[in-house]
Each structure stands twice: as C-alpha cells, then as structure tokens.
C-alpha cells in the first residue's frame, strides 16, 4: 500500500505550481484497502446490534444450538410482547421520552442564554465565571449523587421523574459549548447594529443570537437528549421499579441468575430503536457536532 500511494511523491517540477491536488498523493482517491478496512470497521460496529435483533427473533432454545443462526427467526413480535408483559415498558418509554425531551430543551435554553452572555456581552466577573464553569466540567458526577439523593428524598421526589429531570436541567458543558460556538458565529457589528436600531437587550438576543445559535443548539439538543436517554446510574438510584426509564426496564428484564436472552435482546432491540431512528434522521448533525466540538474544545 505504501508503495502505491507514494509513487507520485516526486511530482515533475512543473507540477509543483499546480495547487495541492496532485502533490504527494495527499488528496488522491484511496485504494480498495482503505474501503475494505472501513467496511470491516462498520460491520464490526453494526454487528452487535444485528446480533441483538437476531437472538431476539428466536425462542429461548436458540442459545443451546451448536451453530448460531445467520438470518432472523420468526419470534420477534412474540418476544416483544413478552417484553411488554414482563416489565412496564410503555411507562419506561414514556418516562424516557419525557425526561430526555425536557432535559434537552432546558439545557439548550439555559446554555444559549448563558453562552451568549459569556460570548458577546461585557460584564464584571465574566472571565472568572467562565474559567469556573470549565473547571467544574472535570468534576465527576458521582461526587454529587449522595447529597443529591438526600435532597431528593427530603423533598419526597424519589418516586417521580422530576428527581431525574431537575439535576439535568443545566450542564457546564452546554454553556461552554454554546459560548465557543457563539463567539465566532455572531459578528459584534450585528449586535451593535441591532442595538442602534433600537432593540432592547432581550430583543437583540432573540433576533440576533437565537437565529445564529440554531445549528449549535440543534447539536446540543441531540447530545443532551442522547446522554439523558442512555443514563443509567442516577435513574437507578432515584426511580422505583414501577416507574422505570428504558434503561432501568432493560435491567429488570435481565436481573436474576437465569437470563432469557431472547427476551432480553428483544427488549434491547426495542429500546435501541428510538435512538437509531434519531440517528438515521440526524446522524450527520451528530457527526458534525462531534467534529466541531473537537476542533474548538
């Protein structure tokens, strides 16, 4: 591979002046090997999900067979029905959807407000407060769970979804993320122009900052939604067995010494569907979000 790709490494002298395209094979289309490796990576990425659906579509005897199946069997809907019978799965879906939506919206709202202030407004203590926010991002969440639990049980919230929602309403990461984006996304002149045209501060925010923030807000919303949807530790602590989130319902399917894997993996498949749909719809935003965050973070 090395040979093939470095062959044009010494372009003719005249070629040097041509813009980068040809030089050193840097921008050449890659060979089959690259595509082959990538295909292998993607198959490896997708395989466990397929496996989950595969086992979830057979009855429980499939695990005892010598050779694993390759194509799905016909028992998926039967297993799915058993999932809904075994655990409060509808409740779990409703809870997860509600919790994740409220948390994601709240994180986006408060992060945009604060991120805008940190990015574009001048006020006393701004830089110190920003450093403080960045510093707290490094503190593990586990450090706060015990007092948080004490607070929640004092308030009597430990059997309601609000015990999961309230601690998630704001994140330091969200503010940092929006600030990093807005610093460059809004030219100062635009804010000044709005002010000169007579916009009050909040109208400037609404008509200048919010439209500019929209792409980053969408990404932050996605990330917050997914992080909340997949969270397990904190909901496990505060929610009772009859009001689970999706993750807790999955755990209930599995607990005990004997595990019925066609039931569990049918549940896993069902539970993964909402995020997979979201991924198909908005995956490219997720990709660009990760890549943007990397460059700036």
């Amino acid at each position: 591979m090395t040979n093939v790709l470095t062959a044009p490494a010494q372009p003719p002298a005249g070629g040097l002046r041509r813009r980068s395209r040809a030089a050193g094979g840097v921008n050449r289309r890659p060979g089959f090997l690259t595509y082959g490796f990538l295909l292998a990576v993607i198959l490896g990425s997708a395989f466990p999900l397929y496996w989950s659906f595969l086992i979830g579509s057979y009855d429980a005897t499939v695990v005892n067979e010598d050779l694993p199946p390759i194509w799905p069997g016909g028992h998926f809907f039967e297993n799915a029905t058993r999932v809904f019978d075994a655990v409060p799965f509808w409740v779990a879906l409703g809870n997860s959807l509600f919790i994740s939506t409220v948390v994601a919206c709240s994180v986006v709202l408060f992060s945009t407000l604060a991120g805008y202030a940190f990015a574009k407004l001048r006020f006393r203590g701004r830089d110190g407060a920003m450093v403080f926010i960045v510093a707290t991002m490094a503190v593990p969440t586990q450090l706060g769970v015990i007092p948080l639990f004490i607070i929640m049980s004092r308030l009597g919230w430990t059997d309601s979804v609000w015990a999961v929602i309230v601690p998630g309403l704001v994140t330091a990461f969200g503010v940092f993320f929006m600030r990093q984006y807005l610093v460059e996304a809004i030219p100062d002149e635009l804010i000044e122009a709005a002010r000169v045209d007579g916009c009050s501060m909040i109208r400037t925010f609404w008509h200048v900052a919010v439209p500019a923030a929209r792409p980053a807000a969408a990404i932050l919303w996605l990330f917050s939604f997914m992080a909340t949807w997949t969270d397990f530790f904190w909901p496990l602590i505060v929610l009772p067995a009859d009001k689970p989130t999706v993750q807790l319902a999955l755990q209930q399917l599995q607990s005990g010494y004997y595990v019925d894997y066609s039931l569990v993996l049918a549940g896993v498949t069902l539970a993964s569907l909402p995020l997979l749909v979201l991924f198909v719809l908005a995956g490219r935003h997720l990709v660009s979000g990760i890549m943007q965050g990397a460059v700036k973070g």
Partner: protein, 334 residues
C-alpha cells in the same frame, strides 16, 4: 415604539465604542431620562439575568452536592435514618481498610487501561482511514458512529450474551478454531477484557471522529512538504499527523479518563446479579459506591468513596497531562 427609540439613543452612547454608535453624525435628541436609565440598566443587568438561571440551578444541583458530600463523609449517615454522629475520618479509614475497596480500585484501573489504550490507537487508525479522500464520506463517518447511539446498558446486555461462558458466540468461535473456551464471567482478566470491549466498541468511532476533525485541520502544505522530501505515507503519519494531533489526543485521554474511571453500567449488567461477579472480580469503584450506599445503606462511607474516586480521577488526569507534556517536549526536541 417609544421604548425602542429611547433605547436606540441609549445604545448609541453605550455600545462601548461600537462603530455604529460612535460614528453616527446625527444623534437624535434625548427623550425621557427615565427611559434612558431603564435602558442603561438593561445593558448592565441583562448579562447577569442571562447567566443567572444557569448559575442558580447549577448551584443547587451541581455545586452544593459537591461540597455537601464532604460533610456527609465525616458523619455516620444511614440511607433511611439520616444523619448520625460525627465520626471524623472514620469513614475514610473504614473504606481504606476494606479489601473490597482495593479490589474495586484494581478492577477499575485494569478495565480502564484495557479500554483506553487500544481505543486511542484504534481510533487514530480509523481516523487516518477516514481522512483519505473518500467517496460518500458522510456514510463512512456515520457508520463508525453507530455504536455511540446504543446505550451502555444495551451494549452490556448484548456483549454479556456474546461473551457467554457456555453458549456465547465468541467461545463458539474459539472452539471452531480449536481453542479452549474462556470463562469470560469467571476469570478476572477475561471479564475485564470483555467489559473493556464494550467500552471500546461504543467509543472508538466517536474518538475517531474527534481525531479526524483534528487531522483535517492540519495544513495540507505540511504533508506536501514532507512528501516532496520523500517521506512515505507511514512516515508522514508518524512525523506530521501524530505530532499535530497532540491536543486532540490529550483531550480524548482526559475525557476518557473521567468517563472510564466512573464506569458503572457495563460491569453491573455484565451478569444478572449486579455485584460484579461471584468474587466481585469485576466490581468497579462506582459499583462499590452504589453497594455501600444503597445496599449496605451507609451513605457516610459511600461519600468517602466518592471523594476517593474524585481523588483518583484527579491524579490519573494529572499524570496523563504530565505524560502528554513530557512526550510533547521530547518529540519537539528532535
């Protein structure tokens, strides 16, 4: 409308040297001192108004619990009974004298090492592949991100099945090629490997995209210069790409340290008992914290564990940072 004109006058004077305000040749006459001062307060107070919802909530659900953990950790504190006597450092002594704490610490570090090192190496390799001038690049980028949308709980359940001791696909595969099946749920190191595999599966593609972004920010001129000097593709990767990726690598290592040392869902759901195996051979620190707090019902010692975990993370993150610096400077001297 009135408000807006008044505010506009104010804006002219207060947009701190903004070109629009300063250069305006025809300032309008004043209109109402009250409205002007209203607008001045608007400018002064708005930033604080915008950040206050965040800070108020953060104070209650973020900061206060951190400090309060220290308070709880020096008391006897029952899960249901609440606060008991002040005990000073006894909770910490108890935890440090408990062999299960050290067991959990070893497991956590072992799983962390097995997951972080291969993950960074693999992610770099995948990023290098993605950095090629691919057709349908969005497809490939999205493809490596699939595992990221699968919850850790779901991943743990799927891999718990794949790594089954008796009928698992991986052991079946091992037997097909003539190897002995491995007792993934019994042997300590094997279980750590299985759990690390879940973490690697979920995060490698994500980290690859971070590296990819950093790779694409490298000026292509550097590659061209290296290529003209006769550097091979591999040499270009090690001598140009890798040094330029240092900030991204540090970023990934630090974030995976913070996340990896708190690992909970994957080992907890690796079997149905939730205690980390018969001999707790894969109980991690966070699982240990949970067991102390919500099974033993001793929130005091659990808080002590929380602080020790925080200390561990801080130390490892610092070591990482120093190592990265060291590598960075020694690389620069060449």
């Amino acid at each position: 409308m009135q408000t807006i004109t008044a505010a506009s006058d104010e804006a002219r004077r207060h947009t701190a040297g903004g070109p629009g305000g300063a250069a305006d040749p025809d300032p309008r006459p004043r209109r109402g001192a009250f409205r002007q001062s209203l607008s001045r307060w608007d400018v002064k107070l708005s930033p604080y108004l915008y950040i206050s919802p965040f800070f108020l909530l953060f104070l209650v659900v973020g900061l206060f619990p951190l400090i309060f953990t220290a308070y709880v950790s020096v008391y006897e504190w029952d899960l249901l009974g609440g606060k008991g006597e002040f005990t000073g450092m006894e909770n910490f002594r108890d935890v440090l004298a408990d062999r299960y704490f050290w067991n959990a610490l070893q497991n956590t570090v072992s799983i962390f090492l097995l997951s972080s090192v291969p993950q960074v190496v693999l992610a770099l390799a995948i990023a290098a592949l993605l950095d090629a001038n691919l057709r349908t690049r969005t497809f490939w980028r999205m493809g490596v991100l699939i595992p990221f949308v699968v919850a850790p709980v779901a991943a743990a359940l799927i891999f718990g099945n794949l790594f089954g001791d008796r009928y698992g696909l991986i052991n079946q595969g091992l037997q097909v090629v003539g190897l002995e099946p491995i007792r993934w749920h019994v042997d300590r190191l094997a279980s750590h490997f299985a759990i690390a595999t879940m973490v690697n599966w979920r995060w490698t593609g994500y980290n690859a995209l971070i590296f990819l972004a950093a790779m694409q920010a490298i000026p292509r001129d550097l590659y061209e210069a290296a290529a003209i000097d006769g550097a091979s593709k591999v040499r270009r990767f090690f001598s140009v790409t890798l040094p330029m990726l240092r900030p991204a690598v540090i970023f990934v290592i630090i974030t995976s340290t913070i996340g990896g040392l708190q690992i909970f869902a994957e080992p907890r759901l690796f079997d149905g008992t939730g205690l980390g195996g018969a001999d707790r051979q894969y109980q991690t620190i966070t699982m240990y914290l949970w067991e102390l707090g919500w099974r033993v019902r001793n929130l005091g010692t659990a808080s002590a564990v929380a602080w020790l975990l925080f200390g561990l993370i801080a130390v490892v993150a610092l070591v990482n940072l120093l190592l990265a610096r060291r590598i960075a400077t020694s690389g620069g001297k060449r």
